[in-house]
């Protein structure tokens, strides 16, 4: 069995742990400078504030009722690590899929006990970190994802929904589920599926896989098998959630060589940058992580992650590489044998900002070369005429950095001088 564990309104939940006053209030977390809402509490959703809406476009009457906070990536990164740590105490197979979602493998566990185990795990995450999570259980990732959705929406599940691939309940649910709600089925594919007479998840499940492979791709064929309960999709196949991009890979063999990690992170960051430009997004922060092999009990374990906020939203691979390497250097430790490293781009936003558009187009090689020449020229000008003679796509002058932290809460878990204060 496979479980998908998803933190409920993760950023807002992190804020609430250290500031219980936010409980029950409409809270939104904003992205950097541009101030779009990137995370919402249930209450702010109810007020009709949509995801991604620029804060200044919220109706002033509604905005007055809301608490809008700047992103506190240091806090979210640390809390994410804590959640993952707790999950790892329940199974050795934890695949982090995004900052707030993980797939858990439960091979070899008695299936009948899983629902109870997952309830226990859910309570432990809540107790140890204060973060509420929902769990979806099934035999494939796609069904686990659907089950997770139900765990969130239908209160009778109590946070843990199990979907047996062949049950009547599953059939009834898939029969009314539009294909667009399935993980990995994008709007365009859905439109083409409709021309084939496939509108619901159940119809897709019953379709001929080979036929779909011809019309779509091997991934669509696999989705059919997944809906039947066969686990055949790897996380790398699937589109990442729109607001995050993850690139990671295990090393062929364990390494303790810093140069190996540097090289891997450099490649991952460039790859992530490509993905980002392809979907015309800009990243606002980058999370770097390293893992040791949990099956090698004879070696010390060292699983660390760190979120590095970017000074301004960017899709420039060089900036991503620089930030990622800086993060890696902070979590690398000599003498440790690493199995895996990777990174995740966080809080992607669309680049509708003209000044940033320069770098943000999905560029051909030729264009990119031109951009690189441009960069070189800029660098030269700045070198010869003083720093910041020519500036690239910075929407505001100097204080952009302070500006975006205006409503940031303290970095409660990563700074000695910003710890949460308790009245005695």
């Amino acid at each position: 069995m496979i479980a998908l564990v998803d933190c409920n309104n993760f950023y807002v939940s992190c804020e609430r742990v250290f500031n219980p006053k936010l409980e029950g209030r409409p809270v939104g977390v904003m992205s950097n400078n541009d101030g779009c809402v990137v995370a919402r509490s249930a209450e702010i959703k109810q007020l009709g504030v949509p995801m991604g809406m620029p804060a200044h476009q919220i109706d002033p009457h509604i905005r007055r009722q809301c608490i809008l906070l700047s992103s506190n990536y240091a806090l979210y990164g640390d809390m994410s690590r804590r959640v993952t740590d707790v999950l790892s105490q329940h199974t050795p197979h934890v695949d982090v899929y995004s900052i707030d979602e993980s797939f858990l493998g439960f091979e070899g566990f008695e299936p009948d006990t899983l629902e109870e185990r997952c309830q226990e795990m859910r309570h432990q995450v809540r107790r140890d970190t204060g973060i509420p999570v929902s769990v979806g259980l099934s035999t494939s990732k796609t069904l686990a994802k659907i089950a997770n959705h139900r765990a969130k929406k239908e209160s009778h599940f109590n946070g843990v929904a199990i979907m047996h691939p062949c049950s009547d309940d599953t059939k009834a649910f898939l029969q009314q589920l539009p294909v667009t709600e399935i993980w990995g089925v994008a709007g365009r594919s859905a439109a083409r599926l409709r021309t084939l007479g496939i509108e619901t998840a159940w119809q897709l499940r019953e379709a001929a896989p080979k036929h779909l492979r011809k019309h779509f791709s091997v991934v669509m064929e696999r989705i059919v098998y997944e809906l039947r309960g066969e686990d055949c999709i790897s996380l790398d196949d699937m589109a990442q959630p729109k607001k995050q991009i993850m690139v990671s890979r295990s090393f062929g063999r364990l390494t303790n060589n810093k140069a190996d990690l540097h090289e891997a992170i450099r490649v991952h960051a460039s790859r992530a940058g490509e993905k980002l430009r392809k979907q015309k997004g800009l990243a606002q922060a980058i999370m770097v992580f390293v893992r040791t092999n949990k099956f090698r009990q004879d070696l010390p374990s060292h699983n660390k992650s760190l979120v590095v906020p970017l000074p301004h939203p960017t899709d420039d691979s060089r900036e991503l590489v620089r930030a990622a390497i800086a993060g890696l250097d902070r979590i690398f430790k000599e003498g440790i044998w690493f199995q895996k490293c990777g990174l995740m781009l966080l809080d992607l936003c669309d680049h509708d900002n003209e000044q940033l558009g320069l770098l943000a187009e999905p560029v051909s090689d030729e264009q990119r070369e031109r951009n690189e020449r441009l960069m070189a020229t800029l660098d030269k000008l700045n070198r010869e005429h003083g720093k910041n003679t020519v500036r690239l796509g910075m929407p505001r002058k100097i204080n952009a950095w302070e500006l975006r932290c205006e409503h940031r809460t303290p970095r409660y878990t990563t700074r000695w001088d910003e710890l949460a204060i308790v009245e005695t």
Binding site: F18, D128, P300, A420, I421, V422, E423, T424
Partner: protein, 149 residues
């Protein structure tokens, strides 16, 4: 009256949490290698004090209501969220949206928070919006001038 102190070892203040074996020799029957006695790791205060790292948080105390329990303004509290509070524990609780540090106790079947300072009255928990946040396992208070926590 004199106090006897024995030195346990030296502290590496820069050390990140380490899980080193205290003795690195293989387990085998027969005589243990005498060299094992010399293969000692440095003492790591973090792992010594913290049993549940992913559930442990540092908080800063503010105020004077707990001085009787040795908690002073500005002290560093080590708080374990995974422990279940028992009567007598000093806990962190969110009361009406504020985090507060007090001793938890039960009288009859009513739950109270007690300050450790006679100037403060007990706080009955009945009828309040409250939730346990964690149990304070240690308090770090600096003594030497010029040192802060």
């Amino acid at each position: 009256m004199s106090m006897h102190l024995s030195i346990l070892g030296r502290v590496d203040t820069t050390a990140p949490p380490l899980k080193l074996p205290l003795a690195a020799g293989e387990v085998r029957t027969g005589f243990p290698s005498p060299a094992d006695d010399y293969l000692e790791a440095e003492l790591d205060l973090v792992t010594h004090l913290i049993q549940h790292p992913s559930a442990t948080y540092f908080l800063r105390a503010k105020g004077t209501s707990m001085t009787g329990a040795g908690i002073y303004d500005g002290d560093l509290l080590i708080v374990d969220r995974s422990l279940k509070p028992k009567p007598g524990h000093i806990i962190i609780m969110s009361v009406d949206g504020e985090l507060t540090c007090k001793r938890y106790d039960v009288i009859g079947n009513r739950h109270y928070l007690f300050a450790a300072n006679p100037e403060f009255r007990p706080i009955p928990l009945e009828g309040r919006e409250c939730q346990v946040w964690g149990v304070v396992t240690h308090n770090i208070h600096s003594l030497a001038p010029g040192f802060t926590v």
